[in-house]
């Protein structure tokens, strides 16, 4: 139990810390999860091969080591850039992301995997239950994971710093060891008890005497050297840091500056606000999604015609912190009676709120994660369009250039441009360091000219620093737009849709150029992966294992578990993401969804444990489960394909359906693992548990890394599901053609 708890807590906390180290995009998220998973797999494999005599001792030692390595890993994450000789403000490329997460997660992940399988053999030894004991341990670990997951995400992260959490875990583990040691008859009992008690005492001291706090602050100073950090905190959504430099406050989100006050990036703020605002005859009702405070609202308030500004910010903590470290700029913005704050996901606001606007500004970052991509899709643009008044204008910015467009930057812009042109009849793209996209239902943006904008500016009598007649003439010169258009011509890029998040892929390939240009070739080839290539690949895989099967019995089971591990990771991703597509990213709901999934896994394994007789013909049951998983993928595909139009009509039942689907997918996976154990008769329980647990995790590793970046964005949902179905069919075939025991 303590294992499950410790594992999920460690994984969660380290993931968040590492995200700050990597300025996390989708790929790094996958890499981090993947690295954790692979070390668990290796740890469990080794645990499976451990000599039974020493299992007990090894178990206790590994628990103690785990508790120590957890806080140490956090510390290493914070000082990693210093160790690696990288300046703290410098971003990290893909390869360093890879090896640093592999190194940092090694001890904790490995030890966690190790002690799970050791626990299995120890449990077996104590109770002599044989193969079903693995199922029991798996179930209890799941339970611990659920409890730990809920506790850490809902409560711990926002109230305690990482060191407090990790030392708390150490304490619980140490206490578990103590009680464990007492209840057994071990030769080196006294040493173990002494060690565990030491650990407990140290933990208690550190926790109560603000020792953990001191360590946290010390580590933070190393991570942010020579900076005056006036605030450090975690919300459900992100880590927020405030750095003070003279009279300037910079607010960082996961290590990246998000806004600066009191003097913002004037060029950005003025162009982003005034160019669209002046393109509209008289904008009264404004909606700004993200990035409102810190300059934009200030510019909006300059317009006498503005009557209402609805400002959507997902994370209440950010606004709270902005108010604490207030400057005349942000005070003016947040205190204005015209401004209404909504703490909600932007897409959700658009679908639920019925208000109509003259201007909708999208102030969110470009599609660097699956999450962020949702705001650049056809579906989002359609929702925005439906909330616009007739002559309303929708505005967004995207990474651009006034100098040169690489192929990657072209594809990113073409993709978003075609997507927005697909939805809005009139689109005006103003190239710049950030390309400004303005779209309208009626002719508004087509009428844009420097003279028109300037006359409106004069008419309002607005004071601006940068925007004047000559600046307008320069920026809106035909030459620039012609140049931009000529660069976009001849480049093909897919539309960006919720269930085909190509925008994310294009952005990742572009960002990759900054830090790891040597990987350009990899992305060039990855782009070409399609359904045919994948099916051919799976067929080849099948052949290999088919041949392997002739030599090693039980290969089919391992293959089955591995592919299920992969499939389940992808399914979870699809379902969680699908939910967000429809209902937005609301932290609490996502947390419950994940818990539902885990509960399903627990329930599944519990069923096998509690009703062994039903599963006497384990092999048949296993085949049956495999078939069920295949069918599930198919049903999921069909549901999601036809879901979108239905979602608007029956919101409640469809939400319930997501929970149900997650539970079922978890249950299927949960059933399969203990079943696989029953079938995979090996010389010892520990041994079979090890290999299978490892295979499960290995499949999950590939799924974790490849899922968010390759499978989903490149193939899209429907093709991705077909790949899964094909994969499970291949494992089914393998089973059917294997020699039965």
């Amino acid at each position: 139990m303590a294992g499950g708890l410790g594992g999920i807590i460690a994984q969660t906390v380290l993931l968040r810390e590492l995200l700050i180290l990597f300025s996390g995009n989708e790929f790094s998220i996958g890499v981090i999860i993947g690295s954790w998973v692979i070390w668990e797999a290796i740890g469990s494999f080794i645990g499976g091969r451990w000599n039974k005599k020493d299992s007990m001792m090894a178990l206790i030692l590994s628990i103690i080591l785990f508790s120590v390595s957890f806080p140490v890993s956090i510390y290493i994450t914070r000082i990693f850039k210093t160790i690696a000789g990288i300046d703290p403000g410098v971003g990290i490329g893909l390869l360093p992301t890879f090896y640093s997460s592999v190194i940092i997660l090694l001890p904790t992940g490995f030890l966690h995997g190790l002690f799970f399988t050791l626990a299995c053999s120890v449990h077996d030894e104590i109770t002599g239950e044989g193969t079903s004991s693995t199922g029991k341990v798996y179930f209890i670990e799941m339970l611990g994971t659920i409890i730990g997951g809920i506790a850490v995400n809902y409560f711990f992260i926002t109230h305690y710093n990482s060191f407090q959490i990790s030392i708390g875990v150490a304490l619980i583990s140490a206490l578990a060891c103590v009680s464990f040691a007492f209840s057994t008859s071990l030769s080196k009992k006294r040493i173990i008890i002494a060690l565990s008690i030491c650990l407990s005492v140290i933990s208690i001291v550190l926790l109560t005497d603000s020792g953990a706090d001191k360590i946290n602050n010390f580590a933070l100073k190393k991570q942010w050297p020579d900076q005056n950090m006036v605030y450090y905190g975690n919300s459900h959504y992100q880590n927020i840091v405030v750095i003070q430099n003279d009279s300037q406050y910079t607010f960082f989100s996961n290590g990246i500056p998000a806004l600066t006050a009191p003097i913002p990036d004037i060029v950005f703020v003025e162009e982003f606000v005034h160019f669209p605002m002046l393109a509209h005859p008289s904008p009264e009702n404004i909606l700004i999604i993200g990035a409102g405070a810190g300059g934009i609202i200030n510019e909006l308030l300059k317009y006498p015609c503005v009557k209402k500004i609805d400002y959507i910010e997902r994370d209440p903590l950010l606004l709270k912190v902005i108010r604490i470290f207030s400057t005349p700029l942000t005070q003016r913005e947040l205190d204005s009676p015209l401004v209404n704050l909504y703490y909600i996901d932007g897409k959700r606001f658009l679908t639920e709120n019925q208000s109509k606007y003259d201007m909708i500004f999208l102030g969110l970052p470009p599609p660097y994660t699956l999450q962020a991509n949702r705001f650049f899709t056809k579906e989002f643009f359609t929702a925005a369009k439906s909330r616009l008044n007739d002559n309303g204008i929708f505005t967004l910015t995207l990474t651009g250039s006034l100098t040169y467009y690489s192929k990657e930057l072209k594809e990113l812009n073409v993709s978003i441009m075609h997507t927005i042109e697909n939805v809005f009849p009139y689109v005006y793209v103003l190239p710049g360091d950030l390309n400004l996209f303005m779209a309208s239902k009626t002719q508004e943006v087509a009428l844009i000219s420097p003279a028109l904008l300037y006359s409106r500016l004069r008419g309002y009598g607005i004071k601006t620093n940068l925007i004047n007649s000559s600046h307008l003439n320069y920026r809106f010169e035909e030459n620039w737009r012609n140049w931009f258009r000529s660069k976009m011509q001849g480049t093909t890029a897919s539309l960006n849709k919720d269930f085909s998040p190509k925008g994310l892929f294009y952005h990742v390939t572009y960002i990759n150029l900054l830090f790891s240009p040597y990987l350009k070739i990899f992305f060039d080839y990855a782009k070409r992966i399609n359904i045919i290539v994948s099916i051919v690949f799976i067929a080849a895989l099948f052949l290999i294992f088919f041949l392997l099967q002739r030599k090693y019995s039980g290969t089919a089971i391992v293959y089955g578990i591995a592919t299920t591990g992969f499939a389940v990771m992808i399914l979870e991703l699809i379902l969680l993401f699908g939910f967000q597509v429809f209902y937005g990213y609301i932290f609490h709901e996502i947390g419950i969804l994940i818990t539902t999934f885990m509960a399903g896994m627990a329930a599944g394994s519990l069923i096998v444990v509690l009703f062994p007789n039903h599963f006497k013909k384990a092999f048949l049951a296993f085949i049956f489960t495999e078939a069920a998983i295949t069918l599930f993928c198919l049903i999921l595909l069909l549901i999601l394909l036809f879901l979108e139009p239905a979602a608007a009509f029956h919101p409640l039942s469809i939400r319930a359906m997501f929970f149900f689907l997650l539970f079922v997918s978890g249950a299927l996976a949960g059933v399969e693992f203990p079943l696989a154990n029953k079938v995979y008769l090996a010389s010892s329980v520990g041994r079979s548990a090890g290999i299978l647990y490892g295979a499960d995790l290995f499949g999950g590793w590939i799924g974790g890394i490849a899922g968010g970046i390759i499978l989903f964005p490149i193939l899209g949902l429907s093709d991705g599901c077909i790949v899964l179905i094909t994969l499970k069919i291949s494992s089914l075939l393998l089973l059917l053609t294997s020699h039965k025991k």
């Binding site: 300025s23 300046d87 703290p88 403000g89 410098v90 971003g91 020579d226 900076q227 750095i243 430099n245 003279d246 009279s247 300037q248 910079t250 960082f252 290590g255 990246i256 500056p257 600066t260 003097i263 990036d265 004037i266 060029v267 003025e270 250039s401 006034l402 100098t403 040169y404 467009y405 690489s406 192929k407 930057l409 601006t464 620093n465 940068l466 004047n468 007649s469 000559s470 600046h471 320069y474 030459n479 140049w483 001849g490 150029l513 900054l514 830090f515 240009p517 060039d524």
Partner: protein
């Protein structure tokens, strides 16, 4: 000289392999691949070339390129890959380069070929500076074409900028020569990492140069740009001696080069070596390229830098990237009135007459209309 077959192979296949569609017009001119200047055949047998264009002094083996990625050794001869193959051609106001004391409100035809001999972690044009001309989409534009383009578009000057112009030295030299013949000014924005000899040859045609003095610190140049400070200082001195108009840009990055002592030293050095008429632009930094986790420079830091520079005696000290800041204006050193009022790149007021202050007739340093 390269055989026609080999040349076509190299020029065509390499870009094809890299999946780019270069807009290269082959034409029938075999001299498209331009042999470089300022190199020496270091080892004839092993076909190793020693490049002498910039302080790096790369020894380049056959088939390899130099650190700048823009000069390549083919069968023992060094070639300038970016010659007549710019990847960027744009018309910008001269203030963008930035030049505040040169023909205000004039247009500058700005060109660049890919490549750079530095590796600054905050490079704004990294897309073309950190790659070779073989990886970019280029437009074949021999020097005369560039000059005609400038004339046709009423550009008073041609600017060699965006990337490091030293890397397309031969192209810059030929174009500058042609431009001078046609009465068009030559300006450039450079990191100053060039050897004195090639620089002196270039100075025959250059009118104004903006040197990016990244920091007055050896350590900064080593750590953040993978280069050295001294060669840059030498370049600045050489330019001044050659009579070229020099403006200095210093991008101020919090925690890296904003130390007041460093800035004071820099201003003193400038005063003593280039003169108080040398304009200095202190620019505000925003997260860029690999420096993603650093706050923007506080404007107060820039204010202090400007104060320091003015106290040292420098006449023209500007603040960049903060539109609306009084530091965007040119002030008369004598009567302190605003002779040129600016916002961003736009000129709002011109109180000058034939290079002098309209109010007190003091001469204003720079290159002005007659």
């Amino acid at each position: 000289m390269l055989s026609r077959r080999n040349f076509i192979k190299i020029a065509c296949l390499t870009p094809l392999f890299l999946n780019t569609k270069p807009e290269i017009l082959l034409g029938s001119n075999n001299n498209l691949l331009k042999e470089a200047l300022y190199y020496e055949k270091y080892d004839e047998k092993k076909q190793i070339a020693l490049c002498q264009l910039c302080p790096r002094g790369c020894t380049i083996s056959e088939g390899s390129s130099g650190f700048c990625r823009a000069r390549k050794n083919i069968k023992g001869k060094l070639y300038s890959l970016g010659y007549a193959l710019p990847c960027a051609i744009h018309i910008d106001p001269i203030e963008k380069k930035p030049f505040f004391n040169v023909f205000p409100r004039s247009l500058s035809l700005s060109i660049a070929s890919a490549g750079c001999n530095l590796r600054c972690k905050f490079c704004q044009n990294w897309q073309i500076s950190q790659v070779s001309p073989l990886e970019t989409e280029n437009r074949y534009s021999p020097p005369d074409n560039i000059v005609s383009l400038a004339k046709a578009n009423n550009c008073k000057s041609i600017a060699y900028t965006y990337t490091e112009p030293t890397n397309f030295f031969e192209y810059m030299l030929d174009t500058a020569r042609a431009a001078k013949n046609k009465g068009i000014l030559n300006v450039s924005h450079s990191n100053g990492y060039i050897n004195p000899e090639p620089l002196k040859e270039l100075c025959k045609y250059l009118n104004a140069v903006n040197i990016d003095l990244k920091a007055f610190s050896q350590e900064f140049y080593n750590k953040v740009c993978e280069a050295e400070l001294d060669p840059v200082l030498e370049t600045i001195k050489t330019l001044k001696k050659s009579g070229v108009w020099v403006e200095i840009t210093n991008l101020v990055i919090s925690g890296y080069n904003d130390d007041p002592k460093m800035i004071t030293k820099m201003c003193e050095w400038l005063k003593n070596n280039v003169g108080i008429d040398t304009p200095v632009h202190f620019s505000r930094f925003y997260p860029m390229y690999k420096l993603t986790g650093i706050s923007p420079t506080p404007v107060s830091t820039l204010d202090r830098a400007r104060e320091t520079a003015l106290k040292t005696g420098l006449h023209y000290v500007y603040i960049g990237n903060v539109p609306g800041h009084p530091g965007e204006n040119t002030y008369c050193p004598k009567c302190r009135k605003i002779v040129i009022k600016r916002a961003g790149y736009s000129m709002l007021e011109n109180n000058m007459k034939a290079g002098r202050c309209k109010f007190c007739d003091e001469k204003i340093g720079g290159i002005w209309n007659a």
